[in-house]
Amino acid sequence: MSQKLDRFTYDVVVIGAGGAGLRAAVEARQAGLSVAIICKSLFGKAHTVMAEGGAAAAMGNVNDNDGWKVHFRDTMRGGKFLNNWRMAELHAKESPDRIWELETWGALFDRTKEGKISQRNFGGHEYPRLAHVGDRTGLELIRTMQQRIVALQQKDKKEFGDAEKFIKVFAELTITDILKDGDKVSGVYGYWRESGDEILFESSAVVLATGGIGKSFKITSNSWEGTGDGHALALKAGGALIDMEFVQFHPTGMVWPPSVRGILVTESVRGDGGVLTNSEGRRFMFDYIPEVFKANYADNEAEADRWYDDQDNNRRPPELLPRDEVARAINTEVKAGRGSPQGGVFLDVSSRLPAEEIKRRLPSMWHQFKELADVDITKAPMEVGPTCHYVMGGVKVDPDTAAADGVAGLFAAGEVAGGMHGSNRLGGNSLSDLLVFGRRAGAGAAAYVKALKNKPTVSEKEIERASTRISEPFTREGGENPYSLHQELQNITQDLVGIIRTEAELKDAMDKLEDIKKRAANAKAEGGRAFNPGFHLALDLENMLLVSESIAKSALERQESRGGHTRDDFPKMDPQWRQYNHATRWNGKKIEVEAEKAKMLPNELVELFEMNELKKYYTENELAKGGN
């Protein structure tokens, strides 16, 4: 091997320094193990930093009717009951503790009058539930855990003389392969982005916390890191992805100017009173309240407006329906010719709140529109449209330990893991998911390592395989430019696997993806290895292709519409389909899809719902048999 190779050994390697990765690392270190945290960008810059609205946790600080059962119910409804119920249960029960714990590490959330953590309204949540700091909650989460890691390092320095003895951050490093010894994980392999030099971590436990896949789509709120690396790593290591057909299009992304198209406009704008209107000035969301939600959402403006002050006696405004409903409604309005000049709809707070209040509650939105679009949101409405935001699908894991299905020693948490959110995630449920399952993944990995009798070893052959893959983009003859291949891929997913899908388009997408796959295997990197984005993209492309193929194939199988999967040719939700999750696996050449039976709720959770509601989601057969 001509390339320089750095070698390290850790008990646990965490890939990802977003909320999930940092929380996992803290837990594994607190369990007494040595931990490496690896991330593609600088420490503290992970995508989590962009989260705005808040973290959902049923603390009951603003409305004391709230509790884990209500949160659980909302989460299942949001996901149209396809959620892994055990994950939804753990999440609802544990998120308050995870938020309170952040305070002990220095987080400063906004406060209620009593001095408790304030909570705000968000789509799909029955009570004000999102702990927040203005509209920069993700930054607070990241910074708090980044500083927690520093605190642990300072302690190690005092005790052992070396801050990085047990926990070290490897920033600007990309992992390209999971190494295995038989059926067990033995380490990970990758390259320093800065130098292009290769690096090997020997470790018997690996936590994937790599976040989302948005960069496979043209219009997205995600940062460049969202290339689905963890999804692809799990597939290639022999793991399974579930629910990949469910991709969340956030209803409100910026639509103008073109270069910022997709950047998020936080849901808090609607939670704090913002309304959606079309070119005729109509608050169109009243026309799109689905049958299953009629009991909870106001059908007239007067009631909807009263709700902001009196939630016990009024139904919620339909602007706060779950995201999939709002995104589809906007899509329909624009298609019907009632859109705004730039091809979105109007979102207005200027007529709803005093200017000072808008600036206080939504400072970064004010800033964002002022600086990027020359729009003062205290005076004029925003123009917004759907943007690819979040992937519900992900690595199939054990709910309690976050252990990946089928690969001993592999764990996954955060956006890269699947199951928790079913077919659609509620806003705010991701940040709390990161904390709850990040912690569980760290604990799961630690327990696994401690119980392991024989440590797996890394063979030269595995190193050779991983190393060859990294150098390939340089050795290819006459291949295509990775940037143009990426653009082509983004157009295909956007147009054919996007917010509304049909069988013909999905099949077309699959053929086109197959074609790009062949060409991408030949994508060529120009220049040298040092900090070379063209080279990085050539490798990331493979991940985005595996993810896109998984999405397209799962979407083709599911002949119904549910949450983040809408089929024009099968517009109805069908309880028959609730009985299945799609699992995708990689057979070395292509993605294969399998329908796996989704479990019924256990009795004690069945009791949390009215039979009338359950009938909308479960088959008669299932209900007759009763809970699990």
Binding site: K45, L108, R111, K116
Partner: protein, 252 residues
């Protein structure tokens, strides 16, 4: 602004480098980072530039644009004159890695030197009570996106490599102020620490840091000056020092 623009990009590494002039398309509403990306996609596929969110939220894309420390993703192309050549260079106060990417590890080392938040031992999670007005002062500093533009611009280190050892820089003065003003932090001598161990005294309040902060944090007025004033109090009036810490504890 639409049509061609002239960009002068610094290319090179820690050993050598030079400016390269390019012409590239720019469309309406674009920012400098968009144009750099277009150069990357069409003319220099190995041009190194850091970025993440492209929304001014992560602080990755810091560089110098016409000599001014800026976020490339928040610098609109229509702020330049028609036909003006836009010069982009890496942050000057830090060693260059390649092209527009600088080695900012100095800042992570300094972060490690600030003692962490120390909560009261007798308060269980969930029992923390703080008033909005009391957390707001620290919250202003927690808006920091760690773009390190203030660090880059501060003349104490920009022009004097030798000061780096003993000077934490404005980003970490606001971190110390944040902890000092945190209603529940129990470490009592943060101001002295700032003065004696982190070089607060070397700051001569030029306010250049405040001017470049993309988060509009009033670094000098709200953090550095109060920290300096109170250091003076503390040094000469131990009774007042004690008083200020007792008041802080009453916030519980």
């Amino acid at each position: 602004m639409a049509g061609k623009v002239n960009l002068r990009i610094w290319r090179g590494d820690s050993k050598s480098g030079d400016f390269k002039d390019v012409q590239v398309d720019a469309n309406e509403g674009e920012v400098v980072l968009d144009v750099i990306h277009r150069v990357q996609a069409t003319q220099m596929s190995d041009l190194a530039v850091r970025w993440n969110c492209k929304a001014g939220k992560c602080g990755s894309c810091s560089m110098e644009i016409n000599g001014k420390p800026r976020l490339a993703c928040m610098t609109r192309m229509n702020t330049f004159e028609e036909g003006e050549t836009i010069t982009v260079t890496p942050l000057r106060a830090f060693p260059v890695i390649r092209d527009l990417v600088a080695d900012v590890s100095f800042n992570y080392k300094k972060a490690m030197e600030v003692p962490s938040f120390e909560p009261p031992a007798d308060l269980a999670p969930g029992e923390y009570r703080m008033q909005q007005v009391d957390v707001e002062r620290s919250q202003e500093f927690r808006k920091c996106i760690e773009c390190f533009l203030c660090q880059n611009t501060c003349h104490v280190i920009r022009d004097h490599e030798e000061n780096k050892k003993s000077f934490a820089g404005p980003r970490f003065f606001i971190r110390m102020a944040e902890l000092d003003m945190h209603p529940l932090d129990t470490i009592r001598n943060r101001k002295q620490q700032a003065q004696e161990e982190h070089g607060l005294g070397m700051c001569n309040i030029t306010k250049c840091c405040t001017e470049v902060c993309p988060e509009h944090i009033k670094i000098t007025d709200n953090a550095i000056i109060p920290m300096k004033e109170r250091v003076v109090d503390v040094k000469y009036d131990p009774v007042r020092w004690l008083g200020s810490k007792i008041r802080k504890r009453e916030g519980i």
